[in-house]
Symmetry: C2
Subunit: 315 residues, 2 copies
Amino acid sequence: MALIEECEALTKAFSGIGVDEKSIISIAGKWNPVQTDSFRKGCEFFADDGHYHAFEKWDNDYVKLLELEFSRLREAVLLWTMHPWERDARMIKESLIKGPKWYGVIIEIACTRSSEELLGARKAYHSLFDRSIEEDVAHRVTDVNRNLLVALVSSYRYQGPKVHAETAKAEAKILANAIKSSGNELEKNAEVLRILTTRSKASLQAIFKHYKELYGKNIEEDLNQDDLILRDTIGSLGYPHIYFSKVLDKALNVKADEYTKDALTRVVVTRADIDMKGINEEYQKLYGISLSQKIEEITRGSYKEFLLTLVARGN
Amino acid sequence: MALIEECEALTKAFSGIGVDEKSIISIAGKWNPVQTDSFRKGCEFFADDGHYHAFEKWDNDYVKLLELEFSRLREAVLLWTMHPWERDARMIKESLIKGPKWYGVIIEIACTRSSEELLGARKAYHSLFDRSIEEDVAHRVTDVNRNLLVALVSSYRYQGPKVHAETAKAEAKILANAIKSSGNELEKNAEVLRILTTRSKASLQAIFKHYKELYGKNIEEDLNQDDLILRDTIGSLGYPHIYFSKVLDKALNVKADEYTKDALTRVVVTRADIDMKGINEEYQKLYGISLSQKIEEITRGSYKEFLLTLVARGN
C-alpha cells in the first residue's frame, strides 16, 4: 500500500464509533517515524481553527479522540457485566453529574424498566451512594422538570393488563385540554403530572390510543417540539420500541454529539435480554435497514463485534 | 463449553497485561444474566479483604482493573503516534506529577536518549508546558536526588568515540573512593555528580570497565542495593541493553505493580526504532527466552499484537 492509501486506511480505522484495532496495528505498527508524522500532520482538521498545532491544541484533541473511541469497548463490557440494578443506578448518578443535557437517561430508565427493575435500581442506589435517587434528583434538578423527574423515578406502577376504558378516555381529554391551555408550561400542570407518573403503562397506551382516535394526531405531534423531556417521557412510556429505535438511529451517526452517541452502548447493553427483538423489528420498519447492518457500517473493531453479538442475542 | 470452563476462559482473558477482546466478546456476549452474575461473584478475590461486596468495594476494584487493562492498547498507540520529543516531554511531566516512585522514568529518558533527542524533549517541554524540564524537576524533587536529576536532564553530552584513557582510569578510582567514604550519601558527592552527569557515554563505559579491572566487581555491585536512582543512572548510562532487558523482564509479570508494568509499553514504543535488536539479543542471553515469546505468554489481545509488531520491527 502506498503511504497515501495507508493514511486513508488508518484515518478510516479511527473514523467510526470505536476503533479498528486490527488496521491500526497492521498499518501504524509498520510505519517509520516520517510516515507516522505525515499521518499526524494529515489529521490537522481535528483542530478547531483548521491548522496544525504540533505541540498544542491538535494533540490534546487527538488524545481526547483516542481516549473516547478506545474506551467504547471497555464501557460496553463494564456495563454488560454489571448487575442491571447497579448499572441503572450508576447511569442515573452519572447523568445527574453531567447535567441537564443528560436527564433523558433518567427518563429512559424510569419509564422503560419494569416496576421491579426500577425498584431494584433504587435499592442499588441506596447501597452505592448512601442516598435515594429521588433525593439526588430533587436536589440537583432545579428547573421546571424537577417535579416530573422526581415523580417518575419514585413510581411503582401497576403492571397488570387491566385498563379502565372510561377513565382512559377521560384522561385523554384531560391531556388534550392541558396541551391547549398550558402550552409551554405543560410540566407544571398537576393533572398531566399525575397521569404520566402514576398510571400503568397499559393505561397510558390506552390513553394515547384514545387521544389519537379523538383528535386524529399522535399526542407527541401536539407537544412543543423543543420539549425533549416531555417527548422522551411520553415516547418511552407509550411506544418504547419506537423510542429506542429513534435513539439508536440518532446515535449511529459519526457526527452526533457525545450524549447522542453514548446511547448506542447504553441501549444495546440494557435491552439485549429484554426487548431487542421488538426494537430490531421496529428499526427495520422505520429505517429500511436492519440494526445490525447499520452497526456494521458505522462502528469499528472489537466494539462493533461486541455490539453485534449483543444485538444477535435478541433473535 | 460448560459455565465453569467459560468462567475460567474469561478470567484468563482478563488475567494478563491487556485484555483478550475476542474471548470476552465470544464468551461474555453469549451469557445470560445469571451466568454473568456467577462470573462476577467468582471474582471476589479482587476485593482486598477477600469478600464479595456487591455494590461497594468489589465493583470499584473491578472497574479500576478494567479501565487499566483496557487502556493499554490506547496508551501504546497514543505514545507510538506521538513525535518522540513530545513523547519524552509528556512522560517526564507525568512522572513528576506521579511522584518519587516514578523518577526512574526521568532518569531513563535523560540517560538513554542521544544528546539531540534529549535536547528535542527539552524544546518540546517548553512548547507544551511553558517552562523547562530542569525548572520543574528542581521545583518538584525535594530530596537528596534533586541535584543529580537536574544535572542529568540538563546534560548535552559529547557523543563522539574519543575517550581519554588516563582520565577514565583516574575517575574510576574517584568513584571507588567515593563509594567507600560516602556510603549511603553518594548522591551528595560533587565528584560523583560531575562524572555521571557530564562525561560522555563512551567515557563512562570506559570508566566502568576500568572499575571492574581495578576492583574485580561491576560498580553496581558496590552500590547500596536500595539506591534505585543511582543504580538506574549507572545502568542506563553504562549498559543500556542490559538495563532495558531487566526493566522489560520485571514489567512482564502480572503481579508487578503499575510503575513496573507501565515500562512494558514505554520501553517497547520508545526503543522499537532505536536499539530493539540489541535489547532482544541481551534479553535472550539473560533470560533464555526471546522477548517476543515472553510477551506472547504474558500479554493479551490487541495490546499483545501491537507489542509484537513493534518488537518485530527491530529484526
